[in-house]
Symmetry: C2
Subunit: 187 residues, 2 copies
DNA sequence: ATTGGCATGTAAGAAGTTACATGATTAC
DNA sequence: GTAATCATGTAACTTCTTACATGCCAAT
């Protein structure tokens, strides 16, 4: 595993600014709070954590637990924070390669009966609906938390990111419904 | 290179339903007409074409050209079309792993001065604006073509796919502008 | 003169996924 | 009793990207 342009490094460093976490925690956190724009998996997290430790960007401490494997808690170092900031300051190259298998099928749907395409679209709508619902739940939770904190928050970055997810989710659903309607209106 | 779940296979088979093409053509086609939801690159296209030929899903013919390398034209076989249809009929698993580096930076932006984040957002808006403009051009072209064909078209699948790109592009831009405004309004 | 388009390809490496291995605890 | 959660890790593999190699033609 080389340094280079491994984005998981920064995702992990970023999460560790919130709190010290284990590999397991990191995975759970991405699943719960970042799944609409990021994912990680164990087979990448564990080696990356070791790498980061070797570079002195994080330090680990062991937490003994009864009847369970020890937790390896990783904490961000000052170097780690500096490295994260360096990356945050870098301009981001616009990278448009979001392969969408659903759309690929739609693009070549003339090879297949209309009924199949409509069925697939309904399936997709279902999945989108579920995703959007869980995002809206997340949003409600986050807003409650934000209100309960009496201290006025300077910068609601996490809520803004969430709002991106909501915008996209809604736009996808709108398109999906429009499209199903159009397809159903075809001869 | 194994068969398995290589999606490029189906993208290539699909494009070859439109016309026989060379590896070069296939790349150009994705760039011109599918870039908002799909991409391919040479280092993947050429080996995949060979693989597809070995499997009998495409056949190649050589086209001699003066002062230029020969074009290897690939044509879909009946088996190839059948394989494409098989895939089109399969249900699509909803796969939400669209890693978005811009959002990752937004998520951890509290580590960095507000001005940096605003700058980055303006950059992103610029890129989105350009993408959307070129999509709108594509749409205009496609609509003109659709009108010129006097024969009523049964199924405007390509236009529907394009419409997805437009929906998403606009939603992203809307969010981007909202977000810039909010950030600029912060203390 | 030099950039961009036409045209095909390979090698090497980075990035990401799946399957496996282990094993206790808790909730249904 | 069976599934889910907690917890860490590796091996093998697939997928994808970058860089390299070659060389002519047309346009600026």
């Amino acid at each position: 595993m080389k340094r280079s342009e491994n984005k998981s490094r920064y995702a992990i460093l970023g999460m560790l600014t919130i709190a010290p976490m284990s590999g397991y925690d990191l995975k759970k956190f991405t699943e719960k709070s970042m799944n609409y724009f990021w994912n990680e998996n164990y087979a990448w997290i564990y080696p990356t954590l070791k790498q980061l430790e070797q570079e002195g960007l994080v330090v680990s401490s062991q937490e003994k637990q009864e009847g369970r494997p020890d937790r390896h808690l990783y904490t961000l170092t000052e170097q780690g924070r500096a490295e994260l900031r360096r990356w945050l300051n870098e301009p981001t190259v616009f990278h448009e390669t979001p392969r969408n298998e659903h759309l690929l099928k739609m693009f070549f749907a003339d090879q297949v009966p209309l009924s199949i395409t409509i069925e697939q679209m309904r399936f997709w709508r279902e999945a989108l609906q579920n995703m959007l619902t869980s995002l809206e739940d997340l949003d409600r939770q986050a807003s409650v938390v934000a209100l309960e904190q009496k201290v006025p928050q300077g910068r609601p970055y996490r809520l803004l990111a969430l709002s991106y997810g909501l915008h996209m989710g809604r736009a996808q659903l709108v398109w999906c419904e429009e499209t199903i309607a159009k397809l159903e209106g075809l001869p």
